[in-house]
């Protein structure tokens, strides 16, 4: 077939009209259209207002039309019928998952066949691939939504808001039917916040410094360090816990404590933040560094006043994502913070401390429904913290507007430069000498 198919959804004749605008005004069969926008410099002078010219209505030649939607719907329905017949009438197969998979395969195949029949084969392949890609994306969204919804469903009905954030678990009595009135996760929230905060305070400066080293310093060490950092980011988090446990706790340098947990979390935080910050710094145009050096700035000044501020949103995003990464870590806490039933504000350095992941880990395996509920509530709180972090990361990764205010996400929102940096309108490639 011919390429005309790609513009088949356009009303007939409209392409002719775009080239001969006066003709379309004469016969007037177009829809009412918005008046032509007047530009500001033609608005003020006393020239007669231009005769309102009727514009042809805009079209999108490749738009997805009713016909295409119908093909998809028909393919879905046909596949359903076909698979139903095959599954339950011809053979005696059963099982929801198998049915679903067969239906999906039938759906894609029928979409291809129908499109190939109605339109053409090239378009059919295009459509079928689009269906697969879109459904993969939708599946991921569905899984995430399902997890969130499931935890919320398990947690919210049993939450006693009065006690969740005010009480710890020390007054839990197995026989008490109203036990949820007396227990909460405040000890775990405090523990998690302290552990993560200290891990960030220790880890982030190191991570940024390492990223600066990897990016701004030249020499033999860079490759080695980068390899080490990459290897470190592959360290299983349980190994980070064992490391701190055997190095510091077995040797009695530290006891089980929040601080030991923080150190284990630093081991996990360092490589991930370093790698992201390094990527972000790499995209800062080298012309800015040269401009700074040419003004007589020392190298540290260049990094501090030019490179890092230019990449600031990106660095903030990297840190927030790093926090989101460690806040839910469980394995390294098992033999460092160890877990506790009671609030422990001050014993951060020398006492067992609770943490949200530990509450989930230990309580969800208990027999008492109250504790299981509490585990789900802790999971819900943890998820909310991560959600807040991600929202913050999104906000910070938005480009800044003229007055330094963050702009609403625009069409270029997915552009790395636009998201991670303050706007640089002139295209800055590598200096071409």
């Amino acid at each position: 077939m011919t390429p005309e198919n790609t513009i088949r959804t356009a009303p007939h004749g409209i392409l002719v009209e775009t080239t001969s605008a006066p003709a379309s005004t004469a016969d007037g069969r177009q829809d009412p259209r918005p008046p032509e926008p007047t530009s500001p410099n033609t608005a003020t002078p006393p020239t007669p207002t231009p005769r309102p010219r009727r514009l042809p209505s805009p079209i999108r030649p490749s738009a997805f039309g009713t016909q295409d939607a119908m093909i998809l719907i028909m393919a879905a329905v046909s596949s359903l019928c076909l698979v139903w017949v095959v599954f339950y009438q011809l053979t005696s197969l059963s099982g929801g998952l198998g049915f679903l998979v067969c239906w999906y395969i039938g759906f894609v195949a029928l979409t291809w066949i129908a499109t190939a029949q109605v339109i053409e084969r090239q378009v059919a392949t295009d459509r079928a691939v689009a269906v697969v890609v879109v459904s993969a994306a939708m599946l991921i969204v569905a899984i995430v939504v399902f997890i969130v919804a499931w935890v919320a469903y398990k947690a919210i009905p049993s939450i006693h808001w009065g006690s969740l954030f005010t009480k710890d678990q020390k007054s839990f009595v197995v026989t008490d039917p109203n036990a949820l009135d007396h227990v909460g996760v405040v000890h775990a929230v405090i523990g998690t916040l302290e552990q993560v905060l200290v891990a960030v305070l220790i880890g982030v400066p190191f991570a940024i410094a390492t990223a600066v080293y990897l990016n701004e310093v030249k020499g033999w060490g860079v490759k080695t360090v980068r390899t080490v950092v990459t290897a470190m980011s592959g360290t299983p988090s349980v190994v980070a816990g064992i490391f701190i446990y055997s190095m510091l706790i077995l040797t009695h340098v530290l006891t089980y404590s929040g601080f030991a947990a923080s150190l284990a979390l630093v081991v996990i935080l360092l490589p991930s933040v370093t790698r992201v910050v390094e990527e972000v710094l790499r995209v800062v145009p080298s012309g800015l560094r040269e401009a700074s050096l040419a003004l007589g700035a020392p190298e540290w000044r260049t990094v501090w006043s030019v490179v890092l501020p230019t990449a600031r949103s990106g660095v903030v995003t990297a840190v927030l994502l790093g926090i989101a990464r460690i806040v839910g870590e469980t394995a390294p806490l098992l033999f460092t913070a160890f877990g506790s039933q009671v609030v422990n504000w001050r014993g951060y350095f020398n006492h067992d401390q609770g943490a949200l992941p530990l509450v989930i880990f230990s309580d969800v395996r208990q027999a008492q429904p109250v504790l299981i509920n509490l585990a789900f509530q802790a999971a819900f709180v943890l998820m909310s913290i991560v959600l807040v972090l991600f929202v913050l990361a999104r906000i910070f990764s938005r480009p800044k507007g003229k007055n330094g205010k963050r702009m609403k996400p625009g069409p270029n929102d997915d552009d790395l430069m636009a998201r991670l940096f303050v706007p640089i309108p002139i295209e800055q490639n590598e200096e071409n000498r």
Binding site: K218, P285, G287, L288, E290, A291, S292, L293, A294, L295, G296, A297, P298, R301, T302, S305, V306, P309, T310, R312, K400, K402, N403, G404, F421, V422, P423, I424, P425, I426, Q428, E431, R433
Partner: protein, 282 residues
Amino acid sequence: MTTTLSSTSPADADHPTPFTGTPELGQPGQVDAHDVCAWFGGRLVLETVDLVMEKSKVTALIGPSGCGKSTFLRIINRMHEVVPGAQLAGSVKLDGVDIYGPGQRAMETRRHIGMVFQKPNPFPAMTIAENVLAGLKFSRVSPADKDDLIEESLTKGGLWNEVKDRLGELGGALSGGQQQRLCIARSLAVKPRVLLMDEPCSALDPTSTLRIEQTIKEIASEVTVVIVTHNMQQAQRVSDYCAFFLAEENQPGRVIEAGKTGTIFGSPTDQRTFDYVNGQFG
């Protein structure tokens, strides 16, 4: 004599004083380049350049691409050594003081010899005003009156009238031509004695180009200007002196001819210069 950049070149017996903090800051300076050679990763790209850039004058460096004009310019303010594997030889004197002499620091030199690059590169995270003051901030000098300095520098850069009401906006919010003038103003704010410009107009439209040429003429009384340009008309319009660089096939770049702009364009002695300035180049 090849000098790796990590080691300093031999002392200049005549002028051992570093020019750090000399009262001449802000006065135009004269640059004498003597026997300058340059290497990139062991490859000679510039050979024995002898050139004097007169005080308060505009010197244009012309020549085809790849003949070492940028390299030469970057040697003058010690930006060459930023490139890994770059080496150089020879001496460059600013008002008689060898900038590669012992005790001379690259940062100090760059403060006296400013540079404007081909691509406008205002600092995107800073406002227009902060961009102008960036050089002073970097060298930890606080001017007596910041507002005066901002106005003075932007006026010299030919940008004041356009931005005086929006000094708090980010530098990246300007058009390309305005950005380049902001970069010129930023360089002028530290009151350099020499201003190097590497094809400052090649990324700009004709109107912006004219404005920048105008700026160059205006600032020439206060600062010696060295400008690289591929535009013959521009070289004729703005420069007092002209140097023609050429790198023949598989040869390092050399200065073929240098002299008054009128002479170079009117009656060059070398046939290659004649061909180049008349657009009959190979």
